[in-house]
């Protein structure tokens, strides 16, 4: 992380599309031009995506007053690596990180398990009102979550869940995400029935079919869901803001936001904030890179499922 900004920004102002075709074997000129322009556009797009992040790393390394230099500079004059210690310290980063991990972990588990089971039931079990339930779920996908904010706030308050993590976790366990249920059902429908029948011949019940046959087959589906659920819960800002008042129970999202909404004219410490922000971004990045392959597969499933 330390030498990172120099290397990347050094490579930055070199938008010449020329170097790439040199490597390729001589081709018809038009093709070469096309390849070159593709790379030029690719470079442009990539820099739009990456530049803000590089700039953030730059700020994270600056001193407090250097942030407000005019004209601003991309690179800091002096490197303040202590920001990476002071920034997290200002919001009790380790504790909030642990909170975020627990909340996210539990709600991902719950969300994925419940949705997979409900999806399985909707696609495989015959029970009265199956169609009705399916449409009810699909319909509630359209329902804005905001409808529930006020009544649910009062419900959770009345049953004593205020200032606990339960309102952030339990809804996921109770199938609070209809999109996942829909996704799971669609994915299960694409699994041929012959597989079930073969398992049934071996004497397996629904429980065994679900756990030992279906779960392995549908791995891309539930990994995709897990990543989406992870992102949703990791990013969730409104719910923890409303439900949690003890700062020791906050997840990182609220802690990070409290950094920048200064009070009574105080200016936030942007350099410390950006340093903590980089650390906040690491877990989702790690999850994404580890599970990237399945994630793309799973989303492709979403992309194709609809054409069925």
């Amino acid at each position: 992380m330390t030498t990172h900004p120099d290397v990347t920004t050094a490579a930055e102002p070199a938008p010449s599309p020329q170097p790439t075709p040199a490597a390729t074997v001589p081709r018809p000129p038009r093709r070469t031009v096309r390849t070159a322009s593709w790379y030029a556009v690719a470079l442009l797009i990539s820099s739009v995506m990456v530049l803000p992040i590089l700039w953030m790393i730059g700020i994270a390394l600056k001193g407090h007053s250097a942030v407000f230099q005019i004209p601003p500079r991309l690179l800091p004059d002096e490197f303040h690596f202590e920001n990476f210690i002071d920034g997290p310290k200002a919001i009790h980063f380790p504790r909030l990180l642990l909170n975020s991990l627990v909340i996210t972990g539990l709600s991902v588990m719950g969300g994925v398990m419940t949705s997979m089971m409900a999806g399985y039931a909707l696609s495989r079990l015959r029970f009265p009102g199956r169609k009705v339930w399916f449409y009810a779920f699909v319909g509630s996908m359209m329902l804005p979550p905001v409808v529930g904010i006020i009544p649910l706030f009062q419900l959770f308050k009345d049953i004593g869940w205020y200032d606990t993590w339960l309102p952030l976790i339990v809804p996921a366990w109770l199938g609070g995400n209809p999109l996942f249920i829909y996704l799971a059902r669609q994915y299960f429908l694409s699994v041929p029935y012959s597989i079930d029948e073969a398992a049934k011949m071996d004497g397996a019940g629904h429980v065994r079919i679900f756990f030992s046959v279906m779960l392995p087959i549908t791995r891309p589906a539930w990994i995709t869901m897990a990543i989406l659920a992870f992102q949703f819960s990791w990013n969730d800002y409104l719910n923890p803001l409303i439900y949690l008042y003890s700062s020791e129970k906050w997840p990182l999202s609220v802690g990070m936001a409290s950094f920048v909404t200064g009070f009574a004219g105080q200016t936030p410490d942007w350099n410390l904030y950006m340093a903590a922000n980089l650390l906040y971004m690491l877990p989702p990045l790690a999850v994404f890179f580890v599970a990237q392959r399945y994630f793309i597969q799973g989303l492709s499933a979403l992309g194709t499922v609809n054409q069925r």
């Binding site: 329902l143 905001v146 199938g175 950006m274």
Partner: protein, 287 residues
């Protein structure tokens, strides 16, 4: 199945009924609600000076964001749907902002848009282009928020990409043999084939855009949808009334009435999309 049913009742049916009742009351969450009939709606449509501007802000956001996110998302998907060295890297970079936490990226952009020390004006002045007030200008605030939202266009792109890759290559080969140019191929073959995904995307993006909350809440200079009412989208207006700023008493009744207006807008928009789309969506059920 049972937990899902319990959840459905608790998190969908119950809130729906409760908030419909609240919408007809004056209620501050501290003393019992008093029934006021349609007073909240009357106030909303006639006397409240913030309501119509917030409808306008919401619609402006939708009108700017949804088409742009679809067009750019599809363009990037087409761009990345090729066998080039490094394409995987480009794709990952485009998707990167989606992976990053929303609050983190939004606050980052708040700083990028700072008119005096932010990156945006810095880059513009390097390029000798006129600078902007960004989030501080009442005209430029919503477009700035749309830019922040578009930075995460990777989520749209990745689904389009999946759809593009599902189009059988034989179709392209056949078309090329028939002498069709790339433009014809795109408009005559690709677009119709991915139209179901297009509809799904339209609906998803509409719902997202109508319910935008985090961006205006964090990005507006006063965190309440400023400057003026320019970024006070309906979601934020609901939040401001239900969970008001320092030391004000909540207006749950009025907030619930706005919730219902937003809900109806969403239903109407989606119904219209579904109706409109059934005309031009490709369906292979017919074949």
């Amino acid at each position: 199945m049972a937990p899902a049913l319990v959840g459905f009742t608790a998190f969908v049916v119950y809130p729906l009924i409760r908030s419909a009742y609240f919408a007809l009351t004056r209620y501050n969450g501290l003393t019992a609600p008093t029934f006021v009939g349609l007073d909240n709606f009357r106030r909303m449509f006639t006397t409240d000076p913030s309501f119509w501007p917030s409808v306008r802000a919401t619609l402006l956001l939708v009108v700017l964001y949804v088409p742009l996110s679809l067009v750019i998302g599809l363009a990037l998907a087409v761009f990345c749907n090729r066998h080039m060295r490094g394409v995987r890297m480009v794709r990952t970079l485009i998707y990167l902002p989606v992976v990053l936490p929303v609050v983190a990226t939004i606050t980052l952009w708040k700083f990028v848009f700072n008119p005096q020390v932010g990156l945006a004006n810095q880059v513009l002045s390097w390029l000798h282009l006129p600078t902007s007030e960004w989030l501080s200008g009442s005209g430029s605030a919503i477009p700035s928020i749309v830019i922040v939202m578009l930075w995460s266009v990777g989520s749209t792109m990745i689904i389009f990409l999946a759809a593009l890759q599902a189009v059988p290559t034989e179709l392209y080969d056949a078309a090329r043999i028939d002498g069709a140019g790339p433009r014809t191929v795109f408009f005559r073959i690709t677009l119709p084939l991915i139209s179901p995904i297009m509809v799904l995307q339209v609906v998803l993006q509409l719902v997202t855009a109508l319910q935008t909350f985090n961006q205006p809440k964090i990005l507006s200079p006063d965190n309440q949808g400023g400057p003026g009412f320019s970024t006070r989208v309906l979601m934020l207006s609901i939040y401001n009334h239900g969970f008001p700023t320092l030391g004000r008493v909540a207006e749950f009744g009025y907030a619930s009435a706005q919730v219902w207006v937003l809900f109806l807008v969403i239903v109407v928009v989606i119904a219209a999309t579904a109706r409109f789309s059934s005309i031009w969506t490709y369906s292979d059920h017919a074949s």
